[in-house]
Amino acid sequence: MTAVLDSVVTEPDSSRLHRLRHHNTTVWVTMLLASVASLVASFVLSIDALALAKDPHADLGCNINAVISCGTVGTSWQASLLGFPNAFLGLVFEPAVITLAVASLGGVRFPRWFMFSAQAIYTIALLFAYWLFEQAMFEIGALCPWCLLVTLATTLVFFELAYVNIRDDNLFLPRRVQAALTAFVRSNLDVMLVTAWLLVLVLAVVLKYGDALFA
């Protein structure tokens, strides 16, 4: 009886796009690419931080033409919240994400507690990334392309990690919540949510800086 019900209710959408999107490889490759992008951005930002440390006035001023018109992000206190450049955090943590993605592509299954902890830690990383984005947008008033790349990549990694953990039921959630999230993910509403969210960010950037960017 329950078998019949299940097959009626879930009724997997079998379009090619749907299958590709939910394929294990797609998920981990996306995470791998995003974490590599994040690592590269962190690397560039770290080198910039060193250059700024050596010469705090390296080409600083309120530039007339650049989008980054004034008060460069790199010299703000927010850029070294913990007493060292934030980018160093990326250098430390992104390789762990890369390892996770590569190992999973190779077929490794990590224990539930491990995946749960990864999600918890990455949630902190996501909050930090968005706090920095908010500060850069509204407090520092400047755009930093590499920082934006980190924001984007962090969002994608978080999203894929959450996808896996919902799919594999790793989050120790109440059954009702778990079922709702599973249905949400199966209907691809999560993809829509992330797409809409990223578009909102793009809209915010062009609304605030469109003049400087495109005029």
């Binding site: 009724e11 705090p56 309120c62 829509m192 909102v200 062009v206 005029a215």
Partner: protein, 252 residues
């Protein structure tokens, strides 16, 4: 039909109905999501097109360009001894945080050198950071006000200028209010009748025109500091290097 079979059929029918409701629900959410996404993309495109059609953030002010009195032949606001051996030209914007850092490091030294008659400062107030004051046009307002003071109370220009930087607002804030700026001017010794002219905006067209002229003439960022016409490329943000450069220019 046995009782059991009937029950089974009914259960199946109910399950199918529930599934249909769920499907419709999901289809609705999918369409709503797609609509939101399309709307966002449209909004982004419209914003970019609108931005592309606008001029850059250099101020555009209608009205006749009326320069304030007492300007130098190059159109700057002079401070100090006309016959001083060294001229220091400063291009700046009152919202520019790096200009604030420059003032913090050098204003006491410049004060001393001006008082000694060793240096004459030429101020070039610009207004190109109005996009950093949440729509209150802080750069434009302050540049206009300093022009008013230069016109009618030239003796107070330097103090007013320094005091504005001493209370510089954060980039991205709304800047100081007109009342706060008026209070700073009054404290700097600007007569009340002159302060009252601040809100007339008489010199806005002049500020807009000198801002454009400065950029056209090769000023690329603020602060730009020139010593006897030569751009000073040393450290602008610590005490000493500028003074040394001025002294060596005086010795030449």
């Amino acid at each position: 039909m046995s009782k059991q079979t009937r029950l089974r059929t009914q259960e199946l029918r109910e399950a199918q109905q529930a599934a249909a409701v769920k499907r419709a629900h999901r289809r609705f959410l999918t369409w709503a999501g797609a609509l939101v996404i399309v709307g966002l993309v449209a909004a982004i495109v419209v914003t970019i097109m609108a931005a592309g059609g606008r001029e850059r953030t250099l101020p555009d002010v209608n009205g006749a360009v009326v320069p304030p009195q007492h300007l130098t032949s190059s159109g700057a606001i002079p401070v100090g001894n006309t016959d001083a051996p060294v001229t220091v030209q400063i291009y700046y914007d009152y919202m520019c945080s790096f200009c604030g850092a420059f003032e913090e490091a050098n204003s006491a030294e410049l004060d001393r050198l001006v008082a000694d008659g060793a240096v004459r400062v030429e101020l070039h107030p610009l207004a190109f950071l109005d996009n950093l004051s949440s729509g209150t046009e802080y750069s434009m307002r302050t540049a206009n006000d300093v022009a008013v003071v230069a016109d009618a109370a030239p003796g107070s220009v330097w103090k007013f200028h320094s005091d504005l930087y001493a209370q510089q607002p954060e980039e991205g804030s709304e800047g100081l209010t007109d009342e706060q700026i008026a209070a700073i001017a009054a404290d700097a010794g600007v007569p009340a009748a002159v302060v009252d002219r601040f809100t007339d905006g008489t010199y806005r067209p002049w500020v807009a025109s000198v801002t454009k002229k400065a950029f056209a003439s090769g000023v690329e960022h603020t602060p730009t500091v020139r010593i006897n016409g030569q751009e000073f490329t040393g450290d602008l943000y610590s005490v000493g290097p500028l003074t040394d450069a001025i002294e060596s220019a005086a010795g030449r």
